[in-house]
């Protein structure tokens, strides 16, 4: 096993990887940008090195500097986490060229599966259905218009060069194409450095279901179960769960078989995820492979009892997968809420700021993955993830009940968050019944502003008056001061 691993990431995923490394007796090296000097991942690692300034391009995306730091500190492996350089074939190659093990699929696999067109070709070649659409990237809006006509509306525009939901647009009518094209190609350029888009037939009421796979260097491949990640806004996930509420044994087996075929055809190694879109009738098409650990991997860990980061390190070090497919036992159900610093009531607008009040839930069945503490700033430059709240239960009902209870205990003061969304969703009948698809958020949100009972309103009012009175002579930064300021607006709209 490795002696020392550099973690080329920040935030909760860097902390997550450090935790498993510490449990395995592996020393860790953190890298950080200047705004992250006091971050949790810096403090929990054995060593920490500044690699640049806040913009990712000046720090967490600096391949040469990261590889040089790993060499200088004697690391024998680099774990990329998710995001940043985790799906960058050049990085995987540079790491390998430096004689260091990259904890993830090799550059060769990243290159073929990182190209969505190539990934689609691989899937099609082994008989896995793919969505109708363009096989080659499109860079010209006129060409796009023709492709859309051939594929038929509604279509989905998606960046050819990257994943994670950034830059995606649904186009339902020809006259929406121009605007959507401009937005999508611009975001694709910003996020992935390439403006090219793919055009796919959009499946209405589809569910985003993905299959976790794991492959070792000796050709062993396993599937670890699906996750339904359909609850999304801007094509980015808000809630993920396993088992998928609409996935029966038959569909699970078909998704697993499709994922294993793609993995074998691509010569896959390490952990990865095959994403599928499942239509209401159970038919599915392959979307893409995420060649890295997913944000939502904890739900799979809770249900399987596995440590995916430990398994990533083991197969990267050349070990075989230590269990057979039929030894895998999935217990119960698990669900994750991604709590982010976004204003759920204002279109999920990202909002950085200082977390000045924080209480996380704990107790039976609850896991919290976070790198935040009271006083931490959520930097503007990075994903505004506050915490992943994960609940595990004997069945979906118990997992949901535990999450509902955990959300009641959670307090995040400072920037607005997605917590009001999460709190309401867990009491929304369609979600509770498992009846949801990728249109869920658009159809159900905003849910009505909750009404308080009389007793709750009285208690809140008493506290608000005490806070406002106490705040009057104090500093302008006191959040209680705004209780007064807002009254004028409240009266104005009454």
């Amino acid at each position: 096993m490795f002696q020392k691993v550099l973690i080329a990431n920040r935030g909760e995923i860097a902390v997550r990887v450090i935790r498993t490394c510490r449990e395995m007796g592996i020393r860790t090296v953190a890298v950080y940008s200047d705004v992250d000097r006091t971050a949790m991942h810096v403090r929990l690692a054995d060593e920490a090195f500044l690699i640049g300034t806040a913009p990712p391009g000046d720090s967490y995306l600096r391949i040469e500097r990261i590889v040089a730091t790993a060499k200088r500190t004697g690391c024998d492996a680099i774990h990329p986490g998710y995001g940043f350089l985790s799906e960058n074939a050049d990085f995987a190659q540079a790491v390998a060229d430096a004689g260091i093990v990259f904890v993830g699929p090799p550059a060769r696999v990243q290159r073929s599966l990182g190209s969505k067109t190539e990934a689609r070709r691989i899937a099609a070649s082994v008989g896995v259905p793919i969505a109708q659409g363009t096989m080659d990237p499109v860079t010209d809006v006129a060409e796009a218009r023709g492709a859309c006509e051939r594929v038929g509306y509604p279509v989905l525009l998606k960046p050819a060069g990257g994943g994670g939901g950034k830059g995606m647009r649904i186009v339902r009518r020809a006259e929406e194409l121009a605007d959507a094209w401009r937005g999508a190609t611009g975001e694709a350029q910003t996020a992935f450095g390439a403006p090219a888009l793919l055009i796919e037939r959009y499946i209405e009421h589809g569910r985003h279901v993905e299959m976790q796979i794991l492959a070792d260097q000796a050709g062993g491949v396993r599937w670890l179960g699906e996750r339904d990640c359909s609850v999304q806004r801007r094509h980015q996930k808000l809630i993920e769960e396993t088992p998928g509420p609409s996935v029966d044994e038959g569909l699970r087996a078909r998704l697993a078989e499709a994922a294993l075929r793609i993995a074998s055809a691509a010569g896959y190694v390490n952990a990865g995820t095959c994403e599928f879109l499942v239509a209401p009738d159970g038919a599915f098409v392959f979307l893409e492979v995420n060649t890295r650990l997913q944000v939502e991997h904890p739900v799979t860990e809770l249900v399987t009892g596995l440590d995916l980061v430990a398994l990533q390190l083991r197969v990267a070090a050349g070990e075989r997968i230590p269990f057979a497919q039929d030894e895998l036992v999935r217990r119960g159900a698990a669900i994750e809420c991604r709590v982010t610093a976004e204003n759920a009531r204002a279109g999920f607008l990202p909002a950085g700021g200082r977390i000045d009040l924080l209480r996380f839930p704990s107790g039976p069945g609850i896991r919290v993955d976070s790198a935040l503490e009271p006083g931490t700033h959520v930097p503007d430059e990075y994903d505004p993830l506050v915490a992943k709240l994960v609940a595990h239960g004997r069945d979906r009902a118990e997992a949901l009940a535990r999450m509902r209870r955990a959300l009641r205990e959670t307090i995040v003061g400072g920037p607005p968050t997605t917590l009001p969304f999460h709190a309401l969703v867990f009491d929304e009948p369609d979600f509770v019944a498992g009846r949801y698809d990728t249109g869920y958020v658009a159809e159900h949100w905003p849910l009505p502003e909750p009404e308080l009972g009389e007793a709750q309103a009285t208690a809140a009012a008493i506290a608000a008056v005490l806070a406002a009175r106490a705040a009057a002579p104090r500093s302008a930064a006191d959040p209680a001061r705004s209780l007064w300021a807002s009254a004028a607006r409240a009266e104005a709209v009454e």
Partner: protein, 166 residues
Amino acid sequence: MRYAVRVGGRTVRLETSPEGRMLVEGRVVAHDVREIVPRRLWSVVVAGGSREVALLGGDPPRMQVDGVEVAVAVADERALAARRDRAAAAGGRHEVRAPMPGLLKAVHVSEGDVVERDAALATLEAMKMENELRAPARGTVQRVAARAGTKVESGALIAVLVDDAS
């Protein structure tokens, strides 16, 4: 002092007496309030009912009551009248401001445009994503205060809307 507190869809009228008693809707209510985190988190027990109230911050401020997040506003009686006057004068004017620092990628409206509620007024790129700044109400664009392609600070004025109704 009398107060009107707007919270969670209700307006609660409170009165504090000089002896420190608290009247709710004119009645004395047995309440036991403890500050858990100074000016941020309270335990309020009223007639046996136990509530946890957190002031989350924000503008307008948000509170969390037993896990339920709602907007809150406090007005005292003297301020009420004065503010109502000012509010009426300013009524119908909406300032759209940048909620966070970023690059203003595009401005989609010009002065004089009539826009629907939720119409996209401008696109702000921040935190690696494009965010649409939307109209808070149907109205006429009175002023466009920022140019596409410029960096804007948090709170920077982007546009001013005037309600059609006003």
